[in-house]
Each structure stands twice: as C-alpha cells, then as structure tokens.
C-alpha cells in the first residue's frame, strides 16, 4: 500500500510530473470518491495538462513543482464537480461498478484489520472504536475514558502500527 512520494528533481517534464501520479490520484479520489469511475480519467487529464503547461513555459519555477501541480489538481477537481452538478440536474447517472479485483483485495485487507482489532487489548480497541468508528474528537475520547489526550494519541498510534504491520505482510 505504501508508495514513494514525489521529490522535486531536474528531469524532463513528463518524468517530473509522473512522479506525482500517486499524490494526485490520492487527492482526486478523496475529492471525487474512490468508487467514482471517472477518477482515473481526471488524473490523466491533470498529468497531460501539467506536462503541456511546463512545455509551454507556464511553469517558471517560482514555486515548487508540487505546489504547481497542487493548483492544477485543485482547479480540475472544482471544474469536474461543477460540470457534474450541471449534468446531474438533467439526468442522474447509473451507479459505478466496482472493480472485482480491487473489491477482493479490499475485503481481504478488511478481514486482516478485523483480526488484528479482535486481538487487541480492550483499552486499545475502546480508543479505536470511539475515535474512528464513533468519530469523537481526541479530547472527547480522553474525557470519556478518563485519560489524557496524549494517551489517546499513543493508543491510537500503537494500534494503527500493529494493523499496518499486519496489512503490509
């Protein structure tokens, strides 16, 4: 699941931009929803647009390439949402079909997470339950369990580390 994040380097525009595919994809999926089938097309449009802008000299290096790509990505997301809002006013689209392979992997990981959570001591499970499932704030969890907010963070981080280790195998 972990991927290397981009680094700014002197390289041809295509190479520099492609290093950001993962981060752009993450941002687009977060904004559009992972099950939206358009996300990959939107990412490709952003990458193409960014390369074209760099080639035409629009990127002058005043900011980092990461910031430049962030701006292009954010604008494209706003355009996409505006466009969809207009279309949806006239005709609703059918629900997207999830990729069966992705679905299977996701289910497998969900099972692994569930197993780790089931094996946790109650004090760690309680914190995960209140913080992630019930979506209480860190301070609220601390008050509810009568521990400090710092202790809440420690327990959350410890439990997540165990889960990450199990899922990575």
């Amino acid at each position: 699941m972990a991927r290397m994040a981009p680094q700014d380097k002197e390289a041809p525009p295509e190479d520099s931009v492609l290093q950001y595919r993962a981060v752009i994809s993450f941002r687009v999926r977060k904004a559009l929803g992972s099950s939206n089938p358009d996300w990959e097309d939107v990412v490709n449009e952003i990458l193409t647009q960014a390369v074209a802008k760099i080639k035409s000299g629009e990127f002058r290096g005043d900011s980092s390439i990461g910031t430049f790509l962030y701006v292009i990505t954010s604008r494209r997301i706003i355009d996409y949402i505006r466009q969809k809002t207009r279309i949806l006013k006239h005709a609703p689209e059918p629900a997207p079909y999830p990729d069966p392979h992705d679905e299977m992997e996701h289910r497998e990981r969900a099972k692994q997470v569930e197993q780790v959570v089931a094996g946790l001591k109650p004090k760690f499970r309680d914190v995960l339950y209140l913080y992630y499932y019930r979506e209480l704030s860190r301070d609220e969890v601390a008050r509810a369990l009568d521990i400090s907010p710092r202790r809440v963070s420690e327990r959350v981080n410890y439990a997540l580390k165990l889960i990450q280790r199990a899922v990575r195998k």
Binding site: R3, M4, A5, V113, E114, Y129, E140, A144, Q164
Partner: protein, 84 residues
C-alpha cells in the same frame, strides 16, 4: 524519520474533521511533503475500514449478528452528547 509539524492533521483529514482552511493548507502541504504523503497513503485504507465497516463495533460486541453498541457504550455516548 523526523516528525513533520503537519503530521497531526493526517487522522483528522482522513476523518473529514479538519476546518476547511486547515484542509486546504494540508492538501497543499502533502503535495510537497513525501513524509506526510507516505503516512497518509498508508493510513487511508485502514481508516476507511475502521470507519465504515463496523469492524470495531462488531468485535466489541463479540457477536457478528448483533450490530448495536454494547450497553455501556450507549451510556457513555449519551453522556458525551449531553456535553457537546
């Protein structure tokens, strides 16, 4: 690895709890911070599983056919709601 000052935004970002201005700031930041992006990417799916699939609630109750929180949680949540 050295901790980034934005790292504490990660959980709240994934849970959609950040204020809009902090969300924008963090989104701009993780485009230029490989450390935060790696953390974000790793945590993202796990948080989705914990958040949406009731994994923790189910195990807490010890019975997969029973999806309501255990009684002591109900009391606790009611108390928190009153405090909010």
């Amino acid at each position: 690895m050295k901790k980034c000052k934005y790292e504490h935004y990660i959980d709240e970002y994934l849970l959609d709890k950040l204020r809009p201005e902090d969300q924008t700031e963090f989104e701009e930041h993780y485009f230029i911070c490989p450390h935060c992006f790696a953390q974000l990417d790793q945590k993202s799916e796990i948080v989705q599983i914990l958040k949406k699939e009731g994994v923790i609630a189910t195990t807490e109750e010890g019975c997969e056919h029973h999806h309501r929180p255990a009684p002591w949680w109900r009391g606790l949540l009611a108390r928190l709601r009153r405090r909010r």
